[in-house]
Amino acid sequence: MISFGSGIACAYVFVHLMPELHGTRQALAASSSAPLRFEGKSVYFVALLGFLMYYGLEHLRSGVRKHEAEGTGPSGRSFRLHVAGFAAYVGVMAFLLSHALEPARSSLPLYAGTIAVHFLSVDHALREEHGEAYERRGRIALAAMCLAGWAAGVVTEIPRGVLALVVAFVSGAVIMNSSIMELPEEKDGRFVPFLVGGLAYGLALIPLG
């Protein structure tokens, strides 16, 4: 199920978010009062930033974890870092529930379903990594961030250009986090459900747009 969910998240990124990034680029170019250099290609760069930032966070967390295991660093920092990074991630995801670049009747259930199964993978990974601490505090914090992000999305209105950049950043982060959650060998990922989830959802997304 977890591998299947990760496959779905990857399919969503490659078949839905990437085409949307193209629309994002156009939205960014249209929202600017002055002509943009490189015609808004910066959205792809922002997507790369999202990717790199979450890779950096994972790398930093591994380093901190190593120090904790060796007893050379304060305990609990790895957990706080991990949960804080993902709290920001789920908060932005929930914020985007109310801010679609291309509002369509089908996009909300599509987005909600995909992100829910992706969050299931995130929850599983954090639970395996931090055990009791995550069970006690981490999951509550992430659940609260979902609701806080949504509430912020409901009461605020952001310009289309900024929204385009946020969507681009999140796309990069989703790619990175789906990869982190599933691809390394020690994460116990299963290839067949991952492949089936990715292909089935990707094929289903093509007609839906």
């Binding site: 199920m1 977890i2 929850d123 639970r127 999951r139």
Partner: protein
Amino acid sequence: MNAWINRRLGPPGTPRAPEGRSSTLLAEDRTLLATGRTLMAADRSLMAWIRTSLSMLSFGFTIYKLLQGFQESGELKREQSPRTIGLFMTALGTFAMVAGVMEYWNTLKQLPPVPPHPPLAALLRVRAGDDGLGPVPVLQHHPQGVLSGVDTSGALATGAAALLFALTFLVGGRLHPLARSSGTGAS
């Protein structure tokens, strides 16, 4: 607020009553400026209330510690005095804060819709609005409260999705053992 008003009326020095401008437009401008003044006065009053209440709260804690010192040295007869006075001051501070916020809220309700908070708008704004009246609103600022401008049905649908996200984390742990045992692929 000033930036928004300047954008609407033109930079300082712009003639405020160009020839042929109707009295209705001039009246609208004056109403806008008056609304701005009222809002800024309300902001100042709220800040004063907050300062007062914070002073009362901190004074409550200070006087508690001070009287506790007197009590320990045996100079204070009544045992409960430090606690009572401290609690009274903090309660008074809290009451002042609530009263100030309520007064501010009531003032806002009497005002017509006003532009969003300028610093936040300046942070997130990328261009002027198409109507030429100023920045694209960031935080919907309505006299009846921020939620009055919200599309209720849309908010309910997205709220249900947000709840689903939250439940994923809250009850996700119960699904995982089932999820892993039903897997069919290679590790």
